[in-house]
Amino acid sequence: MAGLATTFGSGAMTNSINEIENAQVMLVIGSNTSEAHPQVARRIFTAMDRGARLIVIDPRRTLLARRADIHLAIRPGTDIPLLNAMMRIILDENLADDLFIEMRTENFYGLRDMLYRLDLEETARLTGVDLAGIRAAAQLYGRAQKAVICYCLGITQHVCGTGNVQAIANLAMLTGHVEKEDTGVDPLRGQNNVQGACDMGALPNVFPSYQQVDIDDYREKFERAWHACLPSQPGLTLMEMTHGGKNGPLKAMFIMGENPVLSDPVQARVEETLDNLEFLLVADIFLTETARRAHVVLPAASFAEKTGTFTNSERRVQMVRRVIPPLGQSRTDSDIIMDLSARLGYAMDYESPAEIMEEISMLAPIYGGMQHDRLENSWGLQWPCWDRRHSGTPFLHKYYFTRGKGRFVPTVHEPPAELPDEDYPFLLITGRIYHQYHTGTMSRHSALLSREAGEALLQLHPGDGRRLGVRSGDLVRMRSRRGEVQVKAQLTETVKAGEIYTTFHFSEMPVNRLTISAKDHFSQCPEYKICAVHLEKV
């Protein structure tokens, strides 16, 4: 979310989910919303039934794309050129919001100059979409009074992920589609509490509430509160930790409720890294592929067995409530951390999660007014919520951006790290499906979800299928420069010829053996959406 932080100053959904149903035009890019964020898709469909128009930019003809007014089946990895082309058309046709640009933004000329140098025909050719389609989309979005852009990991999981996000922000600011209700830029978070984990400072460079560790004022504040001397150097990112290999920087890891063996790119490298640690501690609810490699595995309580809060995509902090006591001998993660901390000589004495939240609210300004008693008696509060009198913030950037003025950051096309060639002729896109969630640790243990979608399928265009002699249900071997897996094919026109799609939910088909470790320079987000593979029938 580095992209939105540099342009708006805050990397979160600017709207509430419910506002989407009042939009007039919705631009969905890099998001298979109806499968990954069903409640957002529900708002999109409601808006359409009320007359709103939908633009979908996605290489695949997803369910959402089939219902869209305009579907631009973009060539993967060419989002920036496509968005730039839209902006150029908006400028050419006088659809830019000049007043907004003047009052609320900076560096417009930087963007304008870049756009004027653009060759529209050439750009369109790059994206694989015809110019007329791009023009129609630009006109629709540019003319709307209330327009929302939703994007997800299809935008960020690229080497140019940050650039993609900046281009989206540019488009929104160019047309003044921010600051208002029912209008904005909405990154949809992949997991239930990604937003919260970021807010809480589970990041190598920031304390809770995005206070940088290398700024002395912030660090001193936390040192005083925690009675400890704190390191000032930003730490290693996830990829740096899990991809160190044999001679990696780490000797010990504590992994709480994550399954990097299945979720991270280049599986072999992750396994090598973990296997070479002197000590690996894992706390989880199931014996995941990662836990199997640990020296110590601690049984954790599930969400139904603990109290606390989650923060959703729209920044709504809401209660998780305990329904039953932890199963067997399992313990909540907070109990585990507190016990461990005590044994390390640092007492963490909290009598309840509510007390932890009180400490958070004192140290994290955006959570300033959030205590359990307030959350208990409401549907949660949306940050920023500065103090106990504040009623939360449904949409961001009213009157001013978090960083003051919104900044246009001109971006240019950056080709993907690996594109199909003669040896590896197919472009593999990875993502999620409706019935499963992440590495399947929870959802694959549900009887009905597994009945509905119990195995990985590789979406393959029927034309490609014919050429390879592959029919639906046949097993194919999929090989990249990094590894190979076997997977059942499903012939469908959802994907274009030459492009294939599959999921990372299933440990039997660890697609991350194939994916590439190339990542976005700023956000460290791996390029899951594009790698080159070779296919053959087994």
């Binding site: 109806s34 069903p38 409640q39 469909f45 409601t46 008696n377 549907w379 009887a447 009905l448 009945r451």
Partner: protein, 348 residues
């Protein structure tokens, strides 16, 4: 003399307190979050019984729970395999504040679970139940029980039935158990007079005029019976369906279920049944992978046909009770009202 009675509103709580001594009490309760659900009431003084809003769940959840154990099994070794029925005592239960749609739904559940074969779990719960109904003076925004002809007032399915007449309830009974309650707690009930019965009729007339939705259910039933629903309708609806199963789960008359084993240890487990939805593709997919239903085109067809065609053919009435719970909850906007409108309005 009529066999109708008057219960003063002030006496409702005292009456429930008496009944609760011998019965588990389940009534619509508004919780602290603001949602109204049929809830088991432990302490009458700590809950707010809500007769203003529709309960978001129906009685289905109690008679036919989302997940329930049919029996437990153990197999300590390959050559032994034992089955034990579950011994769960269902206490006598009084359901209070049940609307006509939910009463009609229970009558339909009776047909499903007791007609072909007597389902033991259902039967036990049903035999132990007393239903106290409440006629609807103010139909809710999504209600269309006038079209399904089981509301807003009803004359069957309850043991006792209340009609709100302002400061008092008119009380009727339909079964002996209802009559027993009246005779046992005679001090709460006064004989109703002519004007009370008139007031009830007046309330009925007014309620009938307050529906906000107009749903041409009869026409849809007729078109289905005559096979006049074009494929394009099914295709459009099926494309809109997002496969959540919510319409079936929330419906008081959708009763499809699946059966599976829940392993509790290496050598023991329980056979459980759980709600299922005919809209799921796994619902009809066979072990070898063959699926006789094409979900993309026809996923949603069987649900509407079942409710509005097959059940009409069998029982002479549709099994949609017009409670409106599924209206506006569909992710893709393809609820039964949209289907009826599409078949009846758009092509005429």
């Amino acid at each position: 003399m009529t066999d109708k009675y008057i219960l003063k509103k002030d006496h409702l709580l005292p009456l429930l307190r008496k009944l609760k001594k011998t019965h588990r009490l389940i009534a619509p309760v508004q919780n602290r979050h603001g949602d109204t659900l049929f809830t088991v009431i432990d302490n009458l003084d700590e809950v707010r019984i809500d007769l203003e809003n529709q309960a978001q769940n129906s009685l289905k959840q109690f008679f036919f729970p989302q997940q329930e154990t049919l029996f437990s099994y153990s197999n300590p070794a390959g050559d032994s395999y034992h089955f034990e029925p579950v011994a769960e005592e269902i206490p006598p239960t009084l359901y209070f504040g049940v609307r006509p749609c939910d009463l009609a739904a229970v009558l339909y559940l009776d047909v499903v679970f007791l007609k072909n074969a007597k389902d033991p779990n259902y039967l036990q719960k049903r035999q132990n139940s007393i239903l106290v109904g409440l006629n609807c003076n103010d139909p809710f925004a999504s209600c269309f029980c006038n079209a399904t002809r089981n509301g807003p007032f009803t004359d069957c399915g309850f043991d006792l039935q209340l009609t709100d007449l302002g400061d008092r309830f008119l009380v009727e009974y339909d079964r002996s158990r209802g009559q027993e309650i009246i005779s046992q707690w005679r001090q709460f009930f006064a004989q109703a007079g002519e004007q009370d019965v008139k007031a009830q009729y007046q309330a009925f007339l007014e309620a009938r005029g307050k529906f906000k939705l107009q749903v041409h259910l009869d026409q849809a039933v007729k078109k289905l019976a005559e096979d006049e629903v074009p494929d394009s309708v099914w295709e459009e609806l099926s494309m809109r369906c997002q496969d959540c199963g919510g319409c079936a789960y929330i419906c008081p008359t959708c009763t499809c279920f699946t059966i599976s084993d829940l392993q509790t240890s290496d050598h023991a487990g329980e056979r459980i049944r759980s709600w299922d939805a005919c809209t799921f593709s796994g619902f009809t997919r066979m072990a070898g992978g063959h699926n006789p239903v094409d979900r993309q085109m026809r996923g949603i067809e069987k649900r509407f046909r079942h409710k509005l065609q097959f059940d009409v053919k069998k029982d002479n009435r549709p099994s949609c009770v017009g409670c409106g719970r599924c209206v506006n909850i569909c992710f893709g906007g393809t609820d039964i009202v949209r289907f009826i409108n599409m078949t009846c309005c758009e092509n005429s």
